[in-house]
């Protein structure tokens, strides 16, 4: 269960980050650079032109000419991810979310600040 600490914007990971944290092996990010050029220069698969197609920077036809097998794979993956993107919250889940809201009022800290901010007073 997610904890209820006073700072909701920080994850437990951010609050307790340790460099040697014992987590199962995963594919960790390599060092990131902040330019699009670096991102586009990645080698391997999918081919760069396929990455560009998936980013909307190139056409599928162009990608298919260069790397037809990569395009075949990513067309299937895209079909599945797009289907997932159309999912909505199941009605029973929505009902349970509504029912879970506490009867108590929210904490009042900052209410007056908010009112002043909204109405400029």
């Amino acid at each position: 269960m997610t904890d209820m600490t006073p700072d909701p914007l920080r994850s437990e990971q951010e609050r307790t980050r340790r460099p040697d944290a014992g987590v199962a092996p995963t594919i960790a990010p390599r060092p990131e650079t902040a330019t699009d050029t670096d991102a586009a220069a990645l080698s391997g698969h999918p081919a760069p032109v396929v990455q560009q197609w998936l980013d909307g920077e190139s056409t599928e036809a162009e990608a298919r000419r260069t790397a037809p097998q990569d395009v075949a794979l990513w067309a299937k993956v895209q079909g599945e991810t797009e289907r997932r993107g159309r999912m909505v919250t199941p009605a029973p889940v929505l009902e349970r979310l509504m029912a879970a809201i506490p009867d108590t009022e929210p904490k009042g800290d900052g209410v007056m600040d908010k009112v002043k901010k909204l109405f400029g007073k």
């Binding site: 209820m4 990971q13 594919i27 900052g110």
Partner: protein, 191 residues
């Protein structure tokens, strides 16, 4: 020009202003107005939690805890409510991923039924769903988050940057790395 009035908090307004109106109503004691925010944001948040965890039950639990947390801390919202709420859910997902890995419960051992499988769909697609879930589970949280936001939620890099407070270049890099990792796992079977 006359401004129209309405009984629905936040109707006919810019989304951000509409959220602020609802928040003001809730903070003024109208608890039920919070349901407007749940209706407004549950779908994209549910998709995010499901994409990150792969489990409908876990996604629901994270959403429930996140909405409760948001309700309790509603007075602390600064800036866009939707981005604030998204960060609560995103952090809940990361915490869950961290904890499930720390306790050595693998994704495959979580025997929640797949939310994607339906009986009338063909075997290939069902297999792809399972294989994609397993491949996603190998990604670390930040790569998985970037991939889900880009490909499942259909967000632009600019929108992702606004929501995560990370540069477009860094997010693009994460998505590309995620695709590389997924490609390496899936290519033998699907390329």
């Amino acid at each position: 020009m006359a401004v129209s009035t309405t009984t629905v908090p936040g109707a006919n307004l810019d989304p951000s202003d509409a959220d602020q109106q609802v928040i003001t109503s809730v903070l003024a004691g109208d608890r039920d107005a919070f349901s407007v925010l749940i209706h407004r944001y549950s779908d994209p948040l549910y998709r995010h939690a499901l994409g990150m965890t792969g489990s409908p039950d876990v996604a629901e639990d994270i959403l429930q805890q996140s909405f409760i947390k948001a309700y309790h801390h509603l007075a602390e919202v600064r800036g866009r409510f939707d981005a604030w709420l998204f960060r609560i859910v995103a952090n809940g997902c990361k915490d869950w991923l961290k904890n499930i890995r720390r306790t050595h419960v693998s994704y495959e051992e979580d025997d929640q039924p797949s939310s994607y499988a339906t009986p009338d769909e063909d075997l290939d697609r069902s297999e792809l769903r399972i294989d994609l879930d397993r491949a996603l589970a190998t990604l670390n949280a930040s790569l998985r988050e970037a991939f889900v936001m880009k490909h499942v939620e259909g967000r632009s890099y600019e929108e992702m940057s606004d929501m995560l407070g990370t540069t477009v270049g860094a997010l693009k890099m994460r998505v590309h790395r995620a695709r590389e990792a997924l490609h390496a796992i899936l290519e033998e079977k699907y390329a």
